[in-house]
């Protein structure tokens, strides 16, 4: 096994921890567990990412393979926070059922709620996700709701009881990066609950630009797992999320369309004439 890579953490004095529904998380980067070449690579990538929250999917046991395909052999639930998703659900009813199945696994009552509307784009169903959020929140679930970069849906999700709203940067698995920074900023400004951008981040600069909008965190899977070297990319994403967060907190300089010299304009040496 190759050595693990663990880049340094952001000093606590520079940023407060992420808090969702009263729970503190040690990283603003959340990662998925799909699409890795093998479990060893996944484990090293998660380690390098510094993520605490890792997502998992709920699927039928393949009776020919038994528990073998299950991911719990490879994740330590004492060190990682397992966040089950409802990926693959196309109706609120299916998503609610999947969330209930996930909760029965006994780890926690959180769910990354997805209700997908379209197979080609995997774009979410705003009506279905609001409906499922309301149902699950009433059952005591902590719902983190995957949604479009649409302010009104985000507001409806908060109203329905979501503990965090997860607008997309761009479609799932697309790697197109943050397509609408304005929408994401608007959602962040208007919501009281944390905003975690989920899906579409393709490389470190995408993660950094996303965090610079002021959102509370980023969730990604393919951007790391489909990189040529997922472990290095996980470390890059971790650094990028920290960099973007700190840059947001620091407050960038104003953009100017003219140059302003950085060096003094007085005290110049006498020009040399030839």
């Amino acid at each position: 096994m190759a050595t693990t890579v663990t880049p340094p953490q952001t000093p606590a004095v520079l940023d407060a921890p992420l808090r969702i529904a009263g729970r503190e998380f040690r990283s603003r980067l959340m990662v998925g567990t799909g699409k890795y070449a093998d479990a060893d690579q996944m484990g090293r990538a998660i380690e390098a990412s510094g993520a605490e929250v890792v997502t998992v999917a709920v699927r039928r046991v393949d009776l020919d393979r038994g528990n073998e395909a299950g991911i719990l052999h490879h994740l330590d639930p004492t060190r990682l926070f397992l966040l089950a998703n409802t990926a693959g659900c196309y109706t609120a009813t299916d998503a609610v059922r999947t969330a209930r199945l996930a909760r029965a696994a006994g780890f926690n009552d959180w769910v990354k709620l997805e209700v997908i509307a379209d197979e080609a784009t995997l774009l979410p169903d705003p009506v279905g996700v609001v409906e499922a959020t309301r149902t699950l929140a009433a059952e005591g679930f902590r719902v983190m709701a995957y949604t479009n970069d649409d302010l009104i849906t985000a507001l409806r999700l908060e109203d329905a009881g979501a503990v965090a709203v997860m607008p997309l940067a761009s479609p799932i698995g697309s790697g197109l990066g943050l397509l609408n920074p304005y929408s994401i900023r608007t959602i962040k400004h208007r919501l009281g609950v944390p905003v975690i951008v989920d899906a579409g981040v393709g490389t470190a600069s995408d993660a950094c630009i996303t965090m610079e909008q002021g959102v509370d965190g980023v969730l990604m899977n393919t951007g790391i797992a489909a990189a040529q070297d997922p472990v290095r990319m996980a470390a890059a994403m971790r650094a990028a999320v920290d960099a973007g967060r700190l840059a947001y907190l620091a407050g960038r300089m104003p953009r100017r369309e003219v140059a302003v010299p950085s060096s003094p304009t007085t005290g110049l040496v006498e020009p040399t004439w030839t």
């Binding site: 998925g32 567990t33 799909g34 699409k35 890795y36 996944m42 997502t55 998992v56 999917a57 709920v58 699927r59 039928r60 046991v61 009776l63 038994g66 528990n67 395909a69 299950g70 991911i71 719990l72 052999h73 397992l82 089950a84 998703n85 990926a87 209930r100 199945l101 996930a102 909760r103 029965a104 696994a105 006994g106 799932i172 698995g173 899906a199 969730l219 990604m220 899977n221 393919t222």
Partner: protein
Amino acid sequence: MMPVDAGEGTLSITVNGAPRTTPAGASLDDLLRTLGLDPRLIVVEHNGAILRDRASFAARPVADGDVLELVHFVGGG
């Protein structure tokens, strides 16, 4: 779905959408072990009811015609 000819002392059940047989008198725990599954790593939906207490599996009988969904966590985003 193909009908299963359940013989004497055998139950016809549906597991994850496919027909199977199991000996009469088997508990849910027996069935899972026969399938080679570790009950701690899976979640069971039995005739539409999600079971949240794994300790109850040994005392839970499986009956003819029962429908079971056995799920677990896999990699996902």
